[in-house]
Symmetry: C2
Subunit: 387 residues, 2 copies
């Protein structure tokens, strides 16, 4: 007689990470974090001006291959300003996945615009470029250089592909759609630092990309984020807008537009510099963890571990178990059993089009996202678990 | 033959703080900052969840006497959410001083509302309650429980008194106006942690008050802020809105309104806890610095050092030199000479109604603020200078 699925899943996790407890994603400070933080405190430069902010920006640019990086207070702030700089204005629509963290939608709303929800594809958990193209063919009309939603009359200004759990989206497909439908791409790479598509870092394909260094991310600054871009004028504008739009002057306080206090404190940037030094190690251990889970779950029927798409390299931020449709009704029992026994697991986010503030936003049919939401479980993913 | 005024001012500063250089306001980490930060790193709880966030909120409430404190990412974020919770909606007007840091105006704009600029009074550098009452008598009309601006037709929803450089505003006058004109008070106490009005802490008179812990403030968290209030329901709402409006659940990600990622990281809160322990010392040294400047500047004609208003206790965040009208034309020469010789001084902020994004906003006559702006110079104010 076979064990019930929840027990099989729990046993498979236990084979990989040991007897537990194991949290979902714990940061790891084994490098220069403490030395750099101490240097900050000793210098008293803990706030928005300091050498670690400059260095973190330079290091991020060097690592991702983007020409410029602008450090900000978190990934949500990065997305907000990137969308604003992408030209998103009140009354516009912005195409975003319904399967994403709520910040993607919030940032659209902060610009006074409306999220327009797009379905996902199972291969990479990202935007479904195939069904999106077909959908836009039906509901979009190009007039001049703008894309209009013929049913709402609004301009569809931008598209925000998100690299789910670190797995690169079909960015080539997204770029082709953006070109054909006159959409600006802002890449939500909050989860994909270290992930590449055909050798190029995620977040560098769009006009701008955004990163997050929240406590649960591959590297953390406590809270933090960044905008990356190859456009020097946009980088300058991003820096200006995120630092209260103050015009540089020896002593005058002049602000020439409505800016934001989205500055990353130097002390958080100091942690970021040290974490970035550790990133190659983190990526190696997270890849090893994927291998261990993949192998362990071969013994669990009707399940699979999501692996990086072809031609891509994933950072494997959150390891992801996918249940077959036939056992989707076991998801909550699996979540309960694993969490009850000390293994922190979670489902994906509630789909955004289901959330009260977004339930009336425009959307295409979302069958794949709705199916994935029922079947997806993130497993304990801390890099230390594979050491 | 007497020396020119810039030299006299420089000499008076030198008598107080020594040969320099002296920055405007440097933080001081001589307590448990290091120990608490190390505890954070060792525990790996550096991000938005952690015991220092809870402790910092409890400590702030205890210190200010507010029933509740909600820690957030900076003072601008605190104001934004406080105004939203005060009922400020798109199309409203909000009365704010023109003599304030630009964040006060930005927060109003983030709510979709329009700042409406109010004059200052010389005594405390805060809202001019006398001329404001007269002005509202002419331009405001109460209909139902709302105050309308009869020339714009918009609702004047709230008033934001700001405690300039730590000096308490005439909050009794503000409260009387708010009562008579049906305005909600949100106190911008970004600069006045440690300042009291008749024994009660600034920021606790309005429906909500907001604090800032930026690097240049009396205490710092790198970047940080807080909302304080006596209303438990508002505190709960503030916590919810500033933490992405996530509905608590063991594993589900449901967000029931459009929230903000305004969470203060635990590592920044850790610094805040240590800094708050030092606050009484900082206040004592800053008061001593005021005494030293006051005494030194008695020798400089046509100048005075701004002192705390009667019945108030100021934190003396930034020491403030006021020039007589007759020598106001010397301000820039004084700024140049002092900064050239290593003493960081600054004028006040450019008045907000002069800034391009706000030049068309409604305003009363602003003669006192315009006069103060010409004559005001902040002096080096770090607590260490009086040790």
């Amino acid at each position: 007689m076979t064990s019930p699925l929840p027990q099989l899943v729990q046993a498979a996790i236990c084979r990989v990470v040991g007897p537990g407890p194991a949290s979902l994603h714990e940061p790891r400070f084994v490098g220069n974090e403490w030395a750099y933080v101490k240097e900050c405190l000793d210098s008293t430069y803990v706030s928005s001006i300091g050498k670690f902010v400059d260095r973190f920006e330079a290091d991020l640019a060097a690592y991702t291959g983007a020409k410029h990086a602008v450090a900000v207070v978190n990934g949500t702030a990065a997305l907000h300003v990137a969308l604003q700089l992408a030209g998103v204005r009140p009354g516009d629509e912005v195409l975003i996945p319904t399967l994403t963290f709520v910040a993607t939608a919030c940032a659209v709303v902060y610009c006074g615009a409306t999220p327009h929800f797009v379905d996902s594809q199972e291969r990479d958990l990202g935007l479904n470029t195939c069904s999106l193209r077909e959908y836009l063919g039906m509901i979009a009309e190009i007039r001049g250089k703008q894309c209009f939603n013929i049913s709402t009359g609004r301009v569809i200004r931008a598209i925000v592909p998100m690299h789910t759990f670190g797995h690169p989206v079909d960015i080539e497909g997204v770029m082709a759609i953006a070109r054909d439908f006159r959409l600006t791409i802002v890449e939500d790479a909050a989860e994909s630092l270290g992930s590449t598509f055909q050798g190029r870092h995620t977040g560098t394909f769009g006009l701008m990309g955004t990163l997050s260094f929240n406590g649960n991310k591959t590297i953390t600054t406590g809270g933090g984020g960044a905008i990356i871009t190859n456009d020097p004028a946009l980088a300058k504008r991003a820096k200006h807008l995120t630092t209260t739009a103050k015009v540089p002057h020896r002593w005058k306080y002049v602000h020439d537009e409505v800016g934001y206090n989205y500055r990353l404190p130097n002390i958080n940037a100091a942690i970021g510099c040290a974490q970035l030094e550790q990133l190659p190690n983190f990526l190696a251990t997270k890849r090893r963890l994927f291998d261990l889970y993949s192998s362990s779950f071969t013994e669990v029927p009707k399940t699979s571990i999501v692996s990086e798409p072809e031609g891509c390299r994933s950072n494997y931020w959150l390891q992801t178990l996918l249940l077959d449709e036939s056992v989707a009704d076991q998801r909550d029992a699996i979540l309960a059993m694993t969490n009850d026994t000390g293994y922190t697991t979670r489902p994906t986010w509630s789909l955004i089009h289901w959330l009260p503030p977004y339930s009336n936003c425009p959307r295409m049919q979302l069958p794949v996202a709705e199916s994935l939401e029922k079947r997806l479980i993130n497993l304990p993913s801390s890099p230390a678990l594979a050491e």
